[in-house]
């Protein structure tokens, strides 16, 4: 038996060093990409083309960020997307958490059916719903950011509900029953007892929703009719096209850095929650 362990070896001493090769390649690629883009965003077009990006012979060119942020109006798209993300997170929680609660705690006709439908709609491709939604928005003639706020809330509701539902089902009802016996109303029990217990799940799903809406592209491209309501993704494509006319690569990279920044920052502090949150809780069915 000792021989066996020696031959196999890996559970005792760690895996063969070869397995680190793909990991290091990926890390090197990712690192090189982010490092170069950040580095080049402080450079000038001529240095980018002649390969002298990291020499900075003329100093750091922070004006590339001014070009992207102010001249190209990235700030406006940035604010729009932040508003979409915040509103969608709040709205989705507001609608989904009560629904998830009664679906997990109460017996009523149609309960199982609603759960099935929620899971079903998560697999409906966006392409199948956008046209009528677009038509409705045009007909209602709503201006500004409101239409997209509403649409983003709505499309995040099914996933949020299912996620919270799974979590509610995994926690004990004892506290809620005790609260009810002590004379709490249904609403009080929900707000004071049940919601605090699912707070970790609410944080995870909010992070998910936030990043999802912040980085969303397809719905924004189709449904934004008002120029002033343009989102970050759609805005970035038009900024990049505009800057390409003058081959202003540093400013393009500056815009890319700005758009990546919020996601990367959030991820730095919450990577475990985001990674492991999506692993099991999501679409278990």
């Amino acid at each position: 038996m000792k021989d066996v362990k020696k031959v196999k070896g890996d559970t005792l001493n760690g895996p063969s060093p070869l397995v680190y090769i793909p990991l290091l390649l990926w890390t090197a690629f990712m690192g090189a990409m982010l490092f170069y883009i950040f580095g080049a965003s402080l450079s000038v077009p001529r240095d980018v083309f002649t390969g002298k990006v990291f020499k900075y012979e003329t100093g750091f060119h922070f004006e590339n960020y001014v070009t992207a942020w102010t001249t190209q109006k990235l700030y406006a798209y940035f604010i729009n997307s932040l508003i979409y993300a915040v509103v969608a997170c709040a709205g989705a929680l507001l609608i989904a958490s009560p629904a998830a609660y009664v679906l997990s705690r109460c017996k009523f006709r149609g309960n199982e059916l609603i759960k099935r439908i929620l899971i079903l709609v998560m697999s409906i491709p966006t392409i199948l719903i956008v046209l009528p939604i677009y038509g409705t928005l045009v007909k209602l003639d709503m201006k500004g950011r409101i239409p997209l706020c509403i649409v983003y809330i709505c499309v995040r509701v099914p996933y949020t509900t299912v996620f919270l539902l799974n979590f509610f089902e995994s926690i004990s009802k004892t506290y809620e029953e005790a609260a009810a016996i002590d004379g709490c109303t249904d609403l009080q029990t929900f707000v004071r007892i049940a919601l605090p217990m699912v707070r970790p799940a609410m944080t995870t799903i909010t992070l998910f929703n936030f990043l999802n809406v912040l980085n969303e592209y397809f719905i924004a491209l189709l449904l934004i009719t008002d120029q002033a309501a343009t989102s970050l993704g759609v805005g970035l494509t038009s900024i990049v096209s505009a800057l390409m006319y003058s081959s202003n690569y540093p400013a393009i990279f500056a815009a890319v850095v700005i758009v990546m920044m919020p996601s990367i920052l959030i991820y730095c502090f919450t990577s475990r929650k985001i990674m492991y949150g999506g692993m099991g809780g999501g679409i278990k069915g």
């Binding site: 083309f49 609660y101 996601s263």
Partner: protein, 298 residues
Amino acid sequence: MKKSKTFIACFIVPCLIVLAVTYFYPVARTLLMSFFKTGSVTAPISTWTFAGLTNFKRIAMSPDFRQGLVNMLKIWIIGGIFAISLSLLFAVILSHKNIRGKHFFRAIVYLPNVISAVAIGNAWLYYVYNYDFGLINTVLGWFGVEHIKWLGPDLKFGAMLAAIIFGVVGYYMMVFIGGIERIPEDVMEAATLDGANAWQKLTKITLPLLKGTTKTIMTFWTIVAVQSFVWTKVFSPITTESSTIVPISYMYEILFGSLQSPEVDIGTGAAVGVLVAIIIMIITSVINRLFKTDDLEL
């Protein structure tokens, strides 16, 4: 627990309204629209004229749609093979008990998932694939290899596909890791005692037990592959090119772009949506048929 009916109703009705307004009504209307000549997107149903399968015939005859469909299937098959093998490789490595920097590497592989596809797509387009100073050509240059036109007509599709795969591997890896960690410890220990080596354990135990997880990931991938429109938009920002066109970009062109014309109307766009949804349904049910998991449920 007994709750009053009013309470239940107040809590569930908003969610039901959302489902009705965002899913039931739009899906029904899209289905209906695909069989009608509808005119503008706001035209009331009473003004539509029934067109039978005309819309579907029209898109089936369109070379753009056909090319889009071919690209979509290529993305699905080639991309699927690479995305799944790569994420499985990372998952197996990063679920090893004694691997160093486990969480760090997991976080790095997962990172592209949280970044905006437009931002990371432009990073690929303007840096990684750049002919003069791009990452790949620079590295190739170290080995004396001539610069390659990654974004030329021949290689553009592959270049786009690599970027798509790069963006999804981390998520699938985490799903695979979840599957691997659900395999009971004693199964592995028993195999070790019976003298199985690492490779045998991988191929005889881990992989067969990941059948269900693989099925889930294939379903995810199908939805990504079919909706890969954002990548088309990033890799061909101005005009739709045959190397990167997908059915959804064809729909977009009908509705807002260069293909807009009096004959081709919203109904045709709806028909594209319906066709794509049918394709997804067929693929998913084939996957479900092929990967029956009941015999290997843990």
